[in-house]
Structure formats: structure tokens, C-alpha cells
């Protein structure tokens, strides 16, 4: 039998039928949130269709929920349009019998945090969600990707998705990361190398020693950002780290089924000799803590670096892009990253809001205080359970003593759909995944960094190299 990539194995094992290179693939897990689902449920209703398999769905409100006082529940969401969207999700889930972790359930959180946390994301699954960062779940050896609302409706009605097979890219990271360098820095370094369109048309498998050494949290951070490299899916092979993480979680298989599942999961890796359409190689040792300087994740440099000058651009289109980015970001070419001062800090999002991220950031701020020029520093845990765990470990106290605000879980200032946002011109060190114009608030300026780097910037008031920061 020909050697197969992990992507081949996952795709091929879900083909219901195939014609002319277009396949109908079966979906095992469907995650749903309030922003991209209302029109899908409405479409279903209008066409008088039923939900195909309701126990494949897990729903949660996350994008619109407030991160401050939630004591009055959904009725207390100040923005009436946001409130209606959350209410609509509650109503649709009730009507169709969909399992939902409502706003004040301790299990509520960002959809890409709670799936894995609950064991609802398992190796070998196909996972979809009306959200591009669904690539996160590929960390478990699952085929996971974001879909549009029409496809959400399609999956609700048929449990299937019409798909063409992607090409396969291998990103191999060998060696050992330096202390203070994280999965986030690997992700940004890869995007810096391939560009934001480098992975378009591909599913990326991340492999190599440095990837094997990552925790599940780190692997999720990395796969989360596969979409920022243009790839709909990022995948990592199953190993002991994967299996140990899943064991005992609420939705994970139990008893005899567990053993059978593990036996199957152990086969979820690319075969020796499997062919990839593209290979990108990095040495972990060379990766610096990364900071983005512009308005696309590919506009990134090491913290020792400077804002690049126009003569470094590869062509006219990129020169125009960079010129616009200088203006929008209020930066000049050749400014050292360490001289850039910040106004706000955001530690959160489906990229970096898990317990390990909060622990790492807390170590950096412990016993220190945010700089006087930092107007607001937020920590927004990825889920109610992450928050509870962090509080049990006393992390909340460390952050609060350092001048951070400790918030309720949700997407928050990752996309600023709720009240948490940047004012025009404000500059933010953010652990999220997109630095697009206006992403964190109109006119807001986002610099993407790891949790440790965000924490260090909060204390210093400007970007600093966390490797030497004390």
C-alpha cells in the first residue's frame, strides 16, 4: 500500500462518495457559536429541514459575551444587537435539542478552547465550525477546518460537507526552542517565512522534534494560526501527549471503548515515505521571540529586529502594502521593535488563553507592576474552567497585583465585538492572531506576540526580549 500522509488518512476515511475529484465527506463534530449560526438555523427552518445528527453538535456563545459582570445573565448584555444574537443561539439550541454551554455555565468559553477541554475534539475526527480558527483542533490529529454559514447549514442538514482534497504541506521544525520562545513564536516565524498566502490550498502538517516537545496547549496555538498562513487546516500526529491530554475528559471514550480508540489513534501519523506537495523547514534554535509590526501576520520580525525598510520588500505590491502599514501603525522604517511603546495589553483569544498561557504570563509579571504608560492590561481566560483552574493556582491574584484586570471568558478584544476594544491610534501588545486594520477596534494598532512577551511588554511599557527580561 502506498505511504499516506496523515491528511490523506483523515480525508479518505471520511469519504461518503466522490465524483470528479469532489468528495462528500462525513462530519463527526460540529461546533457552533452565535455569530455564524443564526442564518444557518433560519435557512433550515425556511426549507423545513431537520438536523441530521444532533449529538454531533456542541454550541457556545463566545464572540459577543461581555467579560465583565455577568450576574444578570443574557438579559444584562448592554448592546441590544449582541444580546439578540446570543438569545437567538439559546433559542435555536433549545428548539433543536442541541447541547449548549450557556453564557453563565462554568464550561462556557471560546469555542476552540472548550471543544478540546471537554474531550469533544478527538483524534481521527472531522471537525467543523463556522469559524476560521477551527484549524486549532487539528492539534489532536483531527481534520478540522472553518466553514461559512451556508456550509454550517449544509452540515446541520446532511452531516456532510462538499470538499475537494487540499494539497499537503509539511512544516518540519527540528531542534529545541530557546527558553522564553513558544509555539506562538513558531507560528509567527512560519508565517513570516511562507507569507499569509503561502499555505493557500494546503493542509499543513507540523512535525519535527520541536513540535513533539510541545504540550497540547502549544500545539493548539500552532494549529490555530495555520489559517493565518492561508491553510484551512493544520494537523499534528497523535502521540502520548495527545492521548494523556484526552484521558478522563467528559466527552472522551470510556472503558473498553477507550482502549479501542487509543489503538486506532496510534495509527494517526504520516507513514514513512509519504509524499508532501511542499516542505518548509525551520530550526527551532534560530527562532526568536516574534513581534508583528504591521497589519498582516506576515509583517513580523524577531524582537531584536526593526521595522523593515521599503528596499527589503519583494515587489511593488508589497511596497504599497508596507507603506500603508507604516501609516496605519504610526511607525517608521528601521524603528527598533524594542523602542515601540504600548497603551494596552491583551492576554487572551483562542490562540493563547489556555491555562499554560496564563501560567507562563503570570511568571513574568509576578511581583512586578504594569508600566505607567499602559492604560489597560486585560487577562481574559479562554473558558470558565480555565479561569477556575487559574484562580485555584492563585494566578488571578498575581495578575491583579500587577495591575491587570481579570475578566470573564470569551473572545473579547481579539475581535472587539463586545465592549473590549482599542480606541483609534491606541497600540496593543496582543496574544491574539490577527493584526488586521481595525481588528481590535477602529484605528487600533495591534502587535501580535506570545503571552510571555505580552506580559513583559506590560511591565516594561514597550516591547522587550523576554529571554533576558527580569
Amino acid at each position: 500500500m502506498a505511504a499516506k500522509t496523515l491528511y490523506d488518512k483523515l480525508f479518505d476515511s471520511h469519504i461518503v462518495t466522490e465524483e470528479n475529484g469532489t468528495a462528500l465527506i462525513y462530519i463527526d463534530r460540529h461546533l457552533v457559536h452565535e455569530v455564524t449560526s443564526p442564518q444557518a438555523f433560519e435557512g433550515l427552518k425556511l426549507a423545513n429541514r431537520k438536523v441530521w445528527r444532533v449529538n454531533s453538535i456542541l454550541a457556545v456563545p463566545d464572540h459577543n459575551v461581555p467579560t465583565t459582570n455577568r450576574s444578570t445573565g443574557v438579559a444584562g448584555i448592554a448592546d441590544s444587537i449582541s444580546r439578540l444574537q446570543v438569545q437567538t443561539l439559546d433559542e435555536n439550541c433549545a428548539e433543536y435539542g442541541v447541547t449548549e454551554f450557556k453564557m453563565n455555565d462554568v464550561r462556557q468559553g471560546i469555542v476552540h478552547v472548550i471543544g478540546p477541554e471537554q474531550g469533544a475534539t478527538l483524534p481521527g475526527m472531522t471537525v467543523v465550525c463556522g469559524d476560521s480558527h477551527t484549524s486549532t483542533h487539528g492539534a489532536f490529529g483531527a481534520l478540522a477546518h472553518g466553514i461559512g454559514t451556508s456550509e454550517v447549514e449544509h452540515v446541520l442538514a446532511t452531516q456532510c460537507l462538499v470538499q475537494k482534497k487540499s494539497k499537503a504541506m509539511l512544516v518540519r521544525v527540528e531542534g529545541t526552542l530557546q527558553k522564553g520562545v513558544t509555539a506562538k513564536d513558531i507560528a509567527l516565524a512560519v508565517i513570516g517565512k511562507t507569507g499569509t498566502a503561502g499555505g493557500t490550498g494546503y493542509a499543513i502538517e507540523f512535525a519535527g522534534l520541536a513540535i513533539r516537545a510541545l504540550s497540547m496547549e502549544g500545539r493548539m496555538t500552532l494549529c490555530n494560526m495555520a489559517i493565518e498562513a492561508g491553510a484551512r487546516a493544520g494537523i499534528i500526529a497523535v502521540d502520548d501527549t495527545t492521548i494523556n491530554y484526552i484521558k478522563g475528559r467528559p466527552f472522551a471514550p470510556k472503558a473498553a471503548q477507550w482502549d479501542a480508540a487509543v489503538k486506532y489513534w496510534r495509527t494517526l501519523h504520516s507513514d514513512v515515505g509519504a509524499k508532501f506537495d511542499a516542505v518548509v523547514e525551520l530550526n527551532a534554535q534560530d527562532i526568536q521571540p516574534q513581534v508583528t509590526w504591521g497589519t498582516s501576520p506576515e509583517m513580523v520580525v524577531g524582537v531584536d529586529g526593526k521595522v523593515p525598510s521599503l528596499d527589503m520588500a519583494k515587489n511593488e505590491v508589497q511596497r504599497a502594502d508596507w507603506t500603508r502599514a507604516y501609516t496605519y501603525m504610526g511607525l517608521q522604517a528601521n524603528t527598533p521593535m524594542s523602542e515601540i511603546t504600548i497603551d494596552k495589553v491583551f492576554i487572551g483569544s483562542c490562540t493563547n488563553s489556555r491555562i499554560e498561557d496564563l501560567r507562563a504570563a503570570s511568571v513574568v509579571v509576578k511581583g512586578k507592576h504594569i508600566a505607567p504608560n499602559v492604560k489597560l492590561a486585560l487577562v481574559v481566560p479562554g473558558s470558565g474552567l480555565v479561569k477556575a483552574q487559574a484562580e485555584q493556582e492563585g494566578l488571578d491574584k498575581i495578575f491583579i497585583a500587577a495591575g491587570f484586570e481579570w475578566r470573564e471568558p470569551g473572545c473579547s478584544m481579539c475581535l472587539a465585538m463586545n465592549a473590549d476594544k482599542l480606541a483609534p491610534g491606541e497600540r496593543c501588545a496582543s496574544t491574539s492572531n490577527r493584526n488586521f486594520e481595525g481588528r481590535q477596534g477602529q484605528g487600533g494598532r495591534t502587535h501580535l506576540v506570545s503571552p510571555q512577551m505580552a506580559a513583559a511588554a506590560a511591565v516594561a511599557g514597550h516591547f522587550v526580549d523576554v529571554r533576558t527580561f527580569s
Binding site: V16, E19, N20, T22, L24, V35, P38, Q39, E42, G43, A47, R49, R53, N55, H63, N64, I81, Q85, G124, M125, G130, D131, T134, G146, I147, G148, T149, S150, E151, H154, A157, T158, Q159, C160, V162, K164, T196, A197, T200, G201, G230, R232, A252, P253, A260, A261, S296, V317, Q318, A320, R324, L415, A416, M417, R434, F436, E437, G438, R439, Q442
Partner: protein
Amino acid sequence: MQAFTRLNGLVAPLDRANVDTDAIIPKQFLKSIKRSGFGPNAFDEWRYLDHGEPGMDNSKRKLNPDFVLNKPRYQGASILLTRENFGCGSSREHAPWALEDFGFKVIVASSFADIFYNNCFKNGMLPIVLPAHAVDALFDAVSGQVGYQLNIDLEKQIVMTPDGKTYTFEVDKVRKHNLLNGLDDIGLTMQQQNKIKAFETKHKLAQPWLFS
């Protein structure tokens, strides 16, 4: 879904690479639970001088005179010409909804982000990938001639310029067929119900834990 066969339309140039979905339709408008009405807020942050929020009367807002789509010569355009990696970022289908509602039926670029590309077809829109040199030539032509139109023929897979020059483009067979005939994906898949059920039975036997 509405069928798409042929279009002869005015072209508007958006000369930027990596136009992301946050730019196409900013997040505050994603709070809507409807599928329509996003057109007035397409490119909101570039298009208006003030900050837009849902529920505002957009006809009273001050337009940014420098934004290309506000120029009188491009009013009524149905073809958007742009650069590489158009539609990168989120999976929000609100992006094609907004462009469609604005009046665009065809988007020509040197490349698209995957999810956006896919979402276009679900809404009767045709995204066309042309080589970068062809896109360059079209940008020159559009700026050089007021009222510049292109003729798009999906059946023949060609883009024709006013002087008769043609560019061919690739499109997946199944997508082409569905778009030409305005077929509804869900309806088509429902015709495969028996196969889905058969797969499900087999899948459940092999991996019962997926179904509990």
C-alpha cells in the same frame, strides 16, 4: 441559489493585496442575525469618514472621497478587480453577502483565500483567478478608460476585454455546473441520503465512541 451564466459589467479597481474579511465587513455588523442588508457597510472603515455601527442611517454618513469605490466613475460596478490573497482572514460569509449586496457578482484577483473563495460560490458569485500579469494589465486598462467593462462567460470560462482580448480561467467542474444551473448544494446532497446513512452505519461500527 441564483444561477450565474454571463455578465457584461463595469469594473471597479481595488488596488490592494491581502484585503481581509475584517476590511470587507467589520465585526460590529456581524451581530445581525440576517443574511441581507450588509451592502451599505461593505468596506465600512475605508468607505466612510465616521465610525459605523449597526442601525445607523448610512445615507446620512459622510463618504470618504478618496476611497476608490466612492468615485462617481465606478458607481454601479458589478465586477471587482483586486490583488492577491483577497478575502483572507475569517470564515464570515457576511463578506460575500456584503459584496453581493453592494452589487458585485464577479471578483477578479490573482489569488483568493480558500474559505472566502468557497463562500462566493454558495452565493451565486463568481471569483476568478487570473495570472498576476493579466491582473496588472487589467488595472492599467481600468484606470485608463472611464466606463471600462469586462465580459465574463462562465460556460466558456473566459474574461473578454472591450478590445476583444480574452483571458481564460479555471473553475472546478462541479462548482461550475452548480453555479450555471443555480443548484442548491443541500438539495443535491440530500439526494445522497442513502449513501450517507450507509457510511454512518459503517463508521459507527468502526468508531462507536464518535456517536455517544
